[in-house]
Amino acid sequence: MKRETLLAIVGALALILCAWAIPWLKFVLTVALAKGIAVLGILLLLRAGQVSFGHAMFLAVGAYTVAFVAPSVPEVLLLLPLAALLATALGLVIGLFLVRYRDIFFGMLNLALSMVIYSLLEKMYAITHGTDGIRIAALTFAGVSLEREVQEWVMFGIALTLAIGFGLLVRAYLGSPMGRALAGIKTRETRLEFMGVSARLVLLFAYVLSALMGGVGGALVSMTTRHVTPQLAYWTSSGELVFIAILGGAGSALGPFLGATAFELVRVYAAAAVADAWQMILGGVLLLVILFAPGGVWGILSSKLKGRGA
């Protein structure tokens, strides 16, 4: 997988260059990286043949953790692990129940639970300020308060570092016995049981890991946008995450980041070009990808590179 490594390095450098050359894109790219981390979780579950249509709930949990705790502890280095921890805990609780289900039931139960969380965030107005959402005041990094420009760079740097870290982790995981067993759930779940392995436990581990990454992604999104709303947990946000996974391509741990970058860029440029029909453009792009490049951006890139190498 030399190609993957090469592409990852080139991609990371391109992102840094982009963020440096076009200041406002730094923000967009930070969000893209954050979402990419969350989409890694979708990718894991896709390997098991399962589609979570409610994964945005973990993003929301991560984001709201930051929003609730930041007023008392505005420290990025503490907030991130805390958000990850809470999302992981929720993932574990929900996961224990959800791993009993497959296919549409798995997808729809995720959707239902995310809608419950969405409704709670919206309904508990006294605590969450409803759809207004919560503003996150300036944060400190290792105890230092930073200026806006520096802070933006720091967030970008953290997102990129975590993206690389989680990307490597997921890559290793997918090649590990647990990762390969996870992929086995898609084709022959019963065999795992015949080998003395609990398929549910295999799936649960992946689910909890995906929740963790969702929480981290959500925390990063909230620290970047500095404002959280229940919209984060709405079902269309979950749909977006699945969209990104397919756009980027499920074939590689690089896919989610390619997908998230492409998604955010298409969205901002579509919004800039036709402010009132951006949804249609995104939908069109998605259709084209599915019909003509089901391997996503990763599929296109890797076949190009392969062609060149041969």
């Binding site: 289900y101 029909a277 949804q279 089901p294």
Partner: protein, 311 residues
């Protein structure tokens, strides 16, 4: 407990009436989605858009009829026309041009194709019908109201809500049950739902059945929208909120089960209206709580058949 009932019994009765009509609307949307899922094995996210388009079309035709000076009952023709139009034009178009290309692909791709379609149709609606609320309530007004006694008071209900909505839903359920069990085409649809491979092996033209079912489902979605249109204002985004609820119904009902869809809709309708009276904070989460509770007890859905393990 008894005391609570004597205090709130009358209110509970009112909640029942409201719940019924709401359940009818939920059922009309969900049953089409469930039917389509049963045969095509695709969760059609764009079903909500078809609902919205059906509603808008019905309102447009109704307004057009009114401008021609046709009497108020012509509004009902508009409702049916809209469902027929969507079912006969949009349904086949979507199935032939899009869905057919992705049968047999991974579930997630099939799901996303309809998600993409949903995104596109959301903007299309806006381009056609604009953003200002559209209302065409002639069919509701035509039938007037019925006074329901409430202690010494009376509560007016619209006859449309009390009779037309539940009536159409029950008729649809009965007609569907008859169609699926008593007609050849219906039985073929059931056969494909139960075991597509076996059905194809028996020489059933699956492609034709899928086209038929999808168009039929689209028509049902549109009919649901058309029926809802006299009672509500049509605004952008009405499809998105409708579809989530239908998802919950389909999963709770059991895949492809129309009776399951009816029972689930009833539970959701009643649960919601009771919540509005006694615990308004829970109104929004009621459908999901019902869904989770049902699936905890019956993992395959209310009427679902456990798929046998192929060993």
């Amino acid at each position: 407990m008894m005391e609570w009932f004597s205090d709130n019994g009358l209110l509970l009765g009112l909640a029942l009436l409201d719940g019924l009509s709401y359940a009818a609307l939920v059922f009309m949307v969900a049953v089409g989605l469930n039917l389509v899922f049963g045969v095509l094995r695709i969760v059609n996210v764009a079903h909500g858009s078809l609902f919205a388009i059906g509603a808008y079309t019905a309102a447009s035709i109704g307004i057009f009829f009114a401008s021609l000076g046709l009497p108020a009952w012509a509004g009902y023709i508009a409702l049916v026309l809209s469902a027929l139009l969507v079912g006969a034009v949009l349904g086949p178009l979507i199935e032939r041009l899009l869905l057919r290309r992705i049968y047999g692909h991974e579930d997630v791709l099939q799901l996303l194709v309809t998600f993409a379609l949903f995104m596109i149709l959301e903007d299309v609606q806006k381009l056609i019908w604009g953003v200002q609320p559209i209302m065409q309530d002639a069919p509701m007004k035509f039938l007037g109201t019925v006074d329901i006694p409430f202690g010494e008071d009376v509560i007016p209900f619209t006859a449309y809500q009390l009779f037309v909505l539940p009536g159409v839903a029950v008729a649809t359920l009965a007609a569907l049950a008859w169609f699926l069990r008593r007609t050849l085409t219906g039985r073929v649809i059931v056969a494909v739902t139960t075991d597509k491979e076996a059905a194809t092996a028996m020489g059933i033209d699956a492609a034709k059945i899928m086209l038929l079912t999808f168009s039929f489902g689209a028509g049902l979605a549109a009919l649901g929208g058309a029926l809802a249109s006299p009672t509500t204002s049509l605004v952008p985004g009405v499809g998105a909120s409708t579809i989530v609820l239908s998802f919950a119904v389909v999963a709770t009902a059991g895949l492809g089960q129309i009776e399951g869809a009816a029972l689930t809709s009833l539970m959701i309708g009643l649960g919601r209206s009771i919540a509005v009276y006694f615990a308004p904070e829970f109104e929004v989460v009621v459908p999901y709580i019902i869904m989770v509770a049902v699936l905890l007890v019956r993992p395959q859905g209310l009427f679902g058949v456990l798929e046998t393990r192929r060993v």
